[in-house]
Amino acid sequence: MPSDELQLIMAGYILGDLSPEEAAALEELLRQDPAIAQEMANLQAALELSHNPPAVPPPPHLRSALLAKAQPVSLPVTSSPPPVARPRFPRSWRTGLELAAAGLIAALAINNYRLEQALQTRQATQPDAAVTYVLDATKPNSPASATVVVNPTTLEATLSVKNLPPLPPGKVYALWTVLKPNAPFTTDEKAAILTDVFQVDAAGNFAKTIPVPHAYRTQEIVVKVAVTIEDSQAPQKHVGNPIMITGL
């Protein structure tokens, strides 16, 4: 049986009047002797037996009704862990942590706000005009399809591919942006810029957001978007012929 002092602390926990120092002492006690938990259950039972009406199980439907109503919510957890886990910080230190955490959260909130403001400003001056490129397979009766949806302002695109067969080892799919002859951008001899390389999953699909070349800002310059099969070690060699292409 624990000392008189510790018994008083245990009773204090059941009554809900524990000071932080006492909570630390109780935590230590529980760590040394987990059987104390049983004694605390006895204290709880004594309190309830002498002061409460009998416990009555509610009707079964109440449980599902409750869980249906309960929404996951993020609430402040006490900054130190519950009294059966790790050592706690002394109260003054905990308050310092809480303040630091609050400061950090406030700082993050401000950053998010500024970022959002910046995005809104940008969108106001340069309206979004997404350009969609639809690629068809060059092989007849192929179920393969692909789209590239480009945001010329941000130079980001969503590449989305369906029903392309997975490739043997050493091979990779390459996405090409083909430009008008003599366009003021660096291209290879086929007037193309290597834009992305990718593999499809077992179902033959792939999707990703990719950066795209500056050429997309001047739409008339991009004449074709195509997919070829290349050597995975040197896709830039551009040896393959288009298996998918726009404007078919």
């Binding site: 008083l8 004594a46 009406p53 509610p58 409750l66 609430l75 519950p82």
Partner: protein, 198 residues
């Protein structure tokens, strides 16, 4: 009963998790923890609600209300005291609020219907009914406590007053309030040993 050995992996709610662990998980958004807490403590809450309010419909309503409060408010501090104690005090308090508003509604209706001034009605007549229903063993056990110990336990657990409020009302030091409440509970535990399932 309630708290048991801490679970090895307090990352998801388990029936072996302590109440404190479950509350932490619940506040991190794991609603499954609410199910475990409900299974443990619903009978306590519903029993108090049913006894105080006198009908199943309102008792069910209040029980749901109390458990939902666990998900929406962070008033309960797992480091300060036991969850069951918090739940009992909260349930009693909310039950009384409902009784009071029920009484006020009745009074308003009476006033309109009969044109008579309302009579003052004891707020919770059922409270006294419980005292009379206590078993002989419980009455004997309570009788082992000093009057002050009994009174302070009543004020703390039954009325939900804080130790500071009790100290102020009774005009005694806070330390004395704590000591009397705690010694009273220890004494009850000692006397009721035979009645408590081990």
């Amino acid at each position: 009963m309630s708290s048991s050995e801490p679970s090895a992996n307090p990352v998801s709610p388990a029936s072996t998790s302590t109440d404190a662990e479950l509350i932490v998980l619940l506040r991190q958004g794991q609603t499954a923890a609410l199910g475990v807490l409900y299974d443990r403590h619903a009978s306590l809450v519903y029993g108090i609600a049913l006894h105080t309010l006198g009908n199943a419909q309102e008792a069910e309503d209040l029980t749901q209300d109390v458990f939902l409060t666990l998900t929406t408010k962070a008033t309960y501090d797992p480091e300060r005291g036991a969850l069951r104690t918090f739940l009992a005090i909260l349930t009693r308090s909310r039950a009384r609020d409902r009784l009071r508003s029920r009484h006020n509604t009745r009074q308003t209706l009476e006033r309109w219907r009969l044109g008579k001034p309302p009579e003052s009605v004891a707020n919770a007549p059922l409270e006294h009914a419980f005292q009379q229903e206590q078993s002989q063993e419980v009455k004997t056990a309570l009788a082992q406590l000093s009057d002050q110990q009994q009174q302070i336990l009543q004020m703390a657990y039954y009325e939900g007053l804080s130790q500071t409020e009790i100290a102020t009302q009774l005009g005694i030091p806070l330390g004395t309030v704590k000591a009397r409440a705690r010694r009273g509970l220890l004494k009850l535990r000692e006397t009721l040993t035979q009645l408590i399932p081990q």
